[in-house]
């Protein structure tokens, strides 16, 4: 048995990791994003994706949607620590598997290819609400909205069809039905 020479305890077994979507309503003020992100990096939490924008100009509120992974204990800590930040108004926490919540990401994909390939590409995107934002003889920019893994799959599938560039947002979330989160 090798003995520990650390002044600290040795790490104990890790729990099961879950993916959660955490929604944070914050005052839209200078450095508020770095407070939120700094909390994650400072305490060793993950950020898989991040989406931020002002949602209420009058009340000066921004909505931050963070996709993160952690043990149930870590997720609970993330929520409680976020609530302690002064500019944070409220925090919502959803499991990715939650059926009552819609998650969406958006991507812009640019293809440089002949029209046959472009047609094929559009066809492949059909399920993901494709919108053609720009088109020339040899290129196209398509907007799709889908789940993260679907976009992952699409960008793989579109490679042979002339995909040259992808720009993606982080996930945003909304509850289903008439219910709103308070």
């Amino acid at each position: 048995m090798s003995k520990s020479k650390s002044a600290y305890s040795t790490p104990t077994k890790l729990g099961k990791l879950d993916t959660h979507i955490i929604v944070v309503w914050v005052d839209n003020e200078a450095s508020v994003l770095s407070r939120v992100v700094g909390l994650f990096s400072g305490r060793g939490y993950n950020i898989e994706s991040l989406a931020v924008a002002e949602v209420d100009h009058k009340k000066n509120l921004s909505r931050i949607t963070i996709v993160t992974t952690g043990t149930p204990q870590v997720i609970e800590q993330i929520v409680l620590q976020l609530k302690k930040l002064v500019p944070v108004h409220k925090v919502a926490n959803f499991k990715r598997e939650d059926k009552n919540v819609i998650f969406k990401e958006m991507a812009l994909v640019k293809l440089v290819a002949n029209s046959a390939k472009i047609k094929k590409a559009l066809n492949a995107c059909k399920k993901y609400n494709p919108v053609i934002l720009d088109k020339t003889n040899k290129s196209v920019v398509i907007q799709i909205t889908a789940l993260r893994r679907e976009i992952d799959k699409m960008s793989k599938n579109l490679k042979p069809l002339g995909l040259v560039s992808v720009s993606r947002t982080g996930a945003v979330a909304m509850t289903r039905g008439a219910e709103i989160f308070n």
Partner: protein
């Protein structure tokens, strides 16, 4: 339109409205307008330190001994970066500080101007909140909000960064109305149902223990009184963390002493074997819990804390009560009385076996040490200091290391706010400036910094501050010429390879004291110790007391890292009697 005030004036107006009477600071280019304004506000006294870290720790000592927030004033750039250690220290130990820092003028921010740094960026992780004031109109609101954030909920440091042009700019100011806008997050969230549940657990327990922490002190002197009442109502044993010392009288029979890495045998074993653990205002720190998987395995756990994020952070608890400690204790005692549950009597039978067990552990006398006639044992020095100062209201600060643990073990506190030590961050050099802050807040009281010779050299310059303001603090150095705790770990865990832990080329502390214009006293053998300590107490000047102690003494008892509470390493006496067996052997 009313009178217009400059930003610098507004800073002082706010300080006056917050009833601030002392600020600790150091001037510099970017705060000159504020320093210029100082002369117009005689009710606010400025204490000039010698290094901004000292200002921060002094403000901490001031805050912890008085219950009021400490205020720090520093300049931009190095002024702000020097105070970062103190801010982090205050953040870890939940000490309310308001730090005001100067900043380069707004039009120069981001240009790498002289003495510019990203102060709010640097201090963001070590404050509860911070503000960069970009518009003079925001200044009054931010200043008052700063005090509110620092002092409500779990207290902590905040920082307000004020660019120089904002200090000159003018706006109107009106005293804020006493509006109750304390956010929901800072309020009590417990209900009577929680209290009933707690009482239910208490009446069922046969091996209960209270584990109390700094939260009791932070909740105000009333909380300590209420705690004493609750402990006596229940008849339960009580142990305390390092920060909680003084909330309950150290020489009371129900008190088991401090727990944790250097806690007593009875306290740690009680934590391990109990069936009900009631945590009041403590945070399951790793120096307390030891190996987390084997921490108090058989107990139901209750956690009372004002900070919801402290709950279930490290140890999963069965009952969480979020609220101010004094409110929770007072509800609990009230309910106990109303239900006419005198637990002490009704439970006596049930917990008498538990007390018998505790008495058995007590016979180990885990704090004992082998005294000597020839050389001063550091524990003996602390004990003598306690005996000779216990009859007056004494305030103790410490640095960090062995001397800190010996002070915690052998100095018995019976009132809150008398014990100031850096627990969370473990900042060497904390004690001297903290003692200055304490003495400022408690001008007539005896203030002693129990120090080590290595720690004291980190903030030695502040003795000059003490001399300047006639603050008769006593620096009681347990001088073993080693960074003692480092040496102890090296002896026990690194095959006695004393790498860089010997304090080479130490100054002559008596001459050093004289050079600073204070009094130096040296004690080298046990016979002269008492007389010298008396001499120190009777001098109405700052004193540096150089107490030469045994170089090889280790701090026992000790829970080695990665071990549970019931596997303690006891002192040399125990080792002689029992020979080291089992788990202990792997370590020595």
């Amino acid at each position: 339109m009313g009178k217009l005030y400059s930003g610098a004036e507004i800073v002082f107006k706010c300080l006056e409205d917050q009833n601030v009477d002392h600020i600790f600071g150091y001037p510099g280019g970017a705060v000159l307008p504020i320093y210029d304004e100082l002369k117009n506000h005689p009710s606010i006294k400025h204490i000039l330190v010698r290094h901004e870290q000292g200002a921060g720790h002094a403000a901490e000592g001031y805050a912890r001994s008085s219950g009021k927030p400490g205020v720090v004033l520093v300049t931009s750039g190095p002024g702000a970066t020097n105070v970062v250690t103190a801010l982090t220290d205050a953040y870890m130990d939940s000490v309310p500080l308001v730090c005001i820092s100067g900043q380069v003028p707004t039009h120069l921010i981001g240009t790498d101007a002289f003495q510019e740094c990203d102060t709010t960026g640097i201090t963001r992780p070590c404050t509860k909140h911070n503000w960069l004031v970009k518009d003079i109109k925001d200044l009054p609101r931010i200043m008052h909000e700063a005090f509110e954030v620092a002092t409500t909920g779990r207290p902590g440091p905040v920082l307000v960064d004020i660019p120089k042009d904002i200090q000159f700019a003018k706006t109107d100011y009106s005293k804020p109305k006493k509006e109750k806008k304390i956010k929901e997050r800072f309020q009590n969230r417990f209900t009577q149902k929680d209290i009933d549940q707690l009482i239910n657990l208490m009446s069922k327990a046969s091996k209960p223990v209270f584990y109390t922490g700094g939260g009791v002190i932070n909740s105000g002197p009333k909380a300590s009184e209420l705690l004493r009442e609750l402990v006596s109502l229940t008849g339960f044993p009580i142990t305390s963390t390092l920060q909680g010392l003084g909330a309950y009288p150290g020489n009371d029979n129900q008190f088991l002493g401090m727990l944790g890495m250097h806690g007593t045998y009875e306290a740690n074993n009680a934590m391990h074997d109990c069936d009900l653990l009631i945590n009041i205002g403590a945070r399951f720190d790793d120096r307390i819990t030891g190996k987390i998987d084997e921490f108090s395995p058989k107990s139901k756990k209750v956690h009372i804390d004002i900070d919801p994020s402290s709950i279930n952070k490290i140890v999963k608890v069965d009952l969480a009560i979020v609220g101010d400690v004094s409110d929770v204790i007072s509800s609990t005692s009230k309910t106990l009385k109303k239900k006419n549950l005198n637990l002490e009597k009704s439970n006596k039978q049930k917990i008498s076996k538990w007390w018998q067990q505790i008495e058995k552990w007590r016979t180990k006398q885990s704090l004992s040490f082998i005294n000597s006639d020839e050389i001063i044992k550091p524990q003996h020095a602390v004990q003598r200091l306690y005996e000779l100062t216990k009859n007056q209201d004494t305030f103790i600060t410490t640095e960090v290391g062995q001397h800190q643990m010996w002070a915690a073990q052998h100095y018995k506190f019976d009132k809150p706010n008398r014990w100031m030590t850096s627990g969370g961050l473990g900042t060497m050099g904390y004690g001297l400036p903290a003692a200055i802050g304490v003495q400022v807040a408690q001008p007539k009281k005896l203030v002693v910094d129990i120090a080590g010779e290595a720690s004291i050299l980190m903030t030695m310059q502040e003795i000059s501050t003490a001399v300047q303001y006639n603050l008769p603090i006593k620096i009681f150095i347990l001088n073993n010429q080693y960074m003692g705790m480092v040496r102890q770990w090296q002896e026990l865990l690194h095959e006695k390879n004393y790498s860089e832990s010997y304090s080479e080329a130490l100054p002559d502390f008596v001459k050093l004291a004289e050079a600073y214009g204070c009094v130096g006293i040296r004690a080298k053998n046990p016979n002269e110790l008492d007389e010298k300590i008396r001499e120190m107490i009777n001098v109405d000047k700052p004193v540096i007391f150089d107490c030469h102690v045994d170089q090889d003494e280790n701090c026992f008892p000790m829970i080695p890292s990665g071990k549970p509470h019931n596997q303690m390493l006891l002192g040399p006496k125990d080792q002689e009697e029992n020979k080291i067996t089992g788990k202990g052997k792997a370590l020595v």
